[in-house]
Symmetry: C2
Subunit: 394 residues, 2 copies
């Protein structure tokens, strides 16, 4: 069992995360939450375990552990199945909540049905946005973990060019990068929100494959090599005149940074060079503009306007298929709140972590542009993935 | 778009799968199903796409595609959002179903709520068991794909010993195996059922780490290297006297075989040798016993009895933590129906594919035993992962 945050030295951090969750619970008018998604268990306990966390608006949370996870501290109780939660709460004198929050966007229908039956008189509310909002704004401890991720991911990215050999396929190139990442400590598992994004360790896109739409919700597509997993590298040889976009897993410690760099083979068109420079220009602009309090949708608007001004609208965020966002929150999951899209009217909050990825797809050539992971500070965006951004020859 | 099965040459296969799904729908008393989980979309269409499939008990199914997936055949319709499904069905003269099946164990609560609102008068039933039962018994086409998986996985396994170097950690060993698998065409993504099994490409367990329980539902545990992903390799050096169990991803073509082989370093205890031989003996016994019609729970009972007779009960299917099954269905997902556990009273069906993994955990030494993937035939089990099974020195 790894309830590390329940140990004394990290108790303060646990309390901070709980407070953030509770603030958002209050806004959502809930009396308690029952949390069961691995991501949120990890957030609130410091380790994934088998079980649930009951979080009332007042009083201590209760950690319900199902074997082989073991109750090992004052706040933990061992149960064999979720139905035993009600008895434990009653025995300890807890009132049944009038309104109970559960993760309606993270747990399957059948599990929510089963959990709601524990609180038959309670109105069911959605705890997913509560936890997503809490997690969007990082604590200092989380920012430190993400800074470490950024250092480790950039160290690997600085070695990527050594993975390349002439006449390699995109997939062969990706496999060598996977190995270097894994040897550097990347956990290999890509934690995403939702059950409709499937990918192993990331994406390498080259040539026309960058323009193949994917049914998944990633910013860029790719046909993949099999209809069961239609995304990413195609298994085709990377040829002179093509760009190669590397957007691989930056998860080393439970958190992750998200980072993209591009290279080209042989030579590359001026159009691709210009579009790549436009991506860099957009990031420089947004790094200054994006201070706490601005409207998130305005970040998208500025990026789109710069792409327009450069005459690159046709290629911006895809060509055959465009996605309506230029970035997203990132942390425990790859796709956290907020989404940086035009209609997002929320204000940007301090210590939000954002992956910004203004990219372009140039037909036949491939994708260009970069992606960095940032922390929102009073002075603008602070870059966790600082590394040469130029489009260079492989 | 990869609706490969909608192309003429594979139409017969599509029809066969539909018929199997409909047979199980009739047993479950549904008038229609609306399918949305990637696994089941892939099963019924031959490719993952963005959208849903409406399957009435009579008449043609309708494939609803959301861009970038494109309607490209007589049975497909393009929609922008699921709410448009009702209008399309009405326009085409379909009656609203009295009882609608949806995947209550594969889709999140919020998505089912949204989909159920399309059929406000329809009773909601669970389509998950319907699709799981249909998929448990494979078609000839599926068996061919799994045979190919088996050949490719065994080819890689026969090279595993070359990945080993003295004083390697379990994780370093695993990373080299991952690379060989990927270069041999393994898709890398491990498709599992449920949102509480998280793993990248498989598990390498060595020494005391094999006895560390994991909160996930895999047959063997392991502490992992981080509390965010508590399973599998520990990052510790593999030493003389330890066994090394390799249970890595066998998914090459949308289907997967599941296979485990073990090695030891330096020397190994007689107890470990005996337990490994017992695993082989159990499989030889079950290969003959497991013909269509037997009670699945009896397979578990025979295995447990053989372990008992050998005086190995204490180590059978775990030591600190035991799992109550010795095998599971396998195909598109790693964990399909049926589960080979004592209380499973279902009869074994012909052309079910099963991964059988009678394993033992020997304290301090590690895990031993093997796992093969089999097809149920009239003559017993036919092995898709045939390769030397002995416990050998690395």
């Amino acid at each position: 069992m790894n309830l590390t945050l329940l140990h004394a030295d990290q108790k303060q951090e646990l309390q901070l995360r709980l407070d953030k969750a509770r603030y958002n619970m209050a806004m959502a008018e809930m009396d308690a939450m029952l949390i069961g998604a691995p991501t949120n268990l990890y957030y609130l306990a410091g380790g994934v375990f088998r079980g649930y966390i009951y979080v009332p608006t007042d009083g201590d949370p209760v950690f319900f552990l199902i074997p082989p996870s073991k109750a090992d501290s004052p706040l933990t109780r061992e149960i064999r199945k979720p139905e035993m939660i009600a008895d434990v709460l009653k025995k300890e004198g807890c009132d049944m909540p009038r309104r109970i929050g559960m993760e309606l966007q993270d747990l399957y229908y059948s599990e929510i049905q089963r959990l709601h039956a524990i609180f038959p008189g309670s109105e069911l509310k959605d705890a997913t946005p509560v936890m997503r909002r809490a997690r969007a704004v990082k604590t200092d401890c989380e920012l430190n973990l993400m800074r470490q991720d950024g250092l480790r991911q950039t160290a690997v990215y600085s070695e990527i060019k050594h993975c390349y050999r002439e006449d390699m396929t995109d997939l062969e190139f990706q496999i060598e990068i996977e190995r270097v990442l894994r040897r550097a400590g990347c956990l290999g598992y890509l934690r995403v929100s939702g059950n409709k994004m499937q990918l192993n360790m990331g994406s390498v896109l080259s040539g026309p494959n960058a323009d193949a739409p994917s049914p998944y919700d990633f910013s860029m597509g790719g046909a993949g090599t099999d209809p069961s997993l239609p995304v990413g590298a195609s298994g085709k040889i990377m040829k002179p005149g093509m760009t190669v976009m590397v957007d691989m897993n930056g998860g080393f410690n439970g958190y992750q940074t998200d980072m993209t760099r591009c290279w080209y083979i042989g030579h590359v068109s001026d159009l691709a060079m210009r579009a790549h420079q436009c991506s860099i220009d957009i990031l420089r602009d947004l790094e200054k503009f994006s201070v706490p309090g601005i409207r998130i949708g305005d970040m998208y608007k500025r990026a789109a306007r710069l792409a327009d001004d450069a005459g690159l609208r046709e290629y911006f965020m895809g060509h055959n298929h465009k996605v309506p966002f230029i970035g997203h929150g990132v942390g425990i999951e790859l796709n956290e709140m907020p989404v940086v899209m035009e209609r997002n009217a929320d204000p940007l909050l301090k210590h939000t972590t954002l992956a910004l990825e203004p990219k372009f797809v140039i037909p036949e050539v491939g994708a260009v542009g970069i992606e960095n992971t940032y922390v929102v500070t009073d002075d603008g965006l602070s870059n966790l993935t600082e590394l040469d951004e130029t489009l260079k020859q492989l």
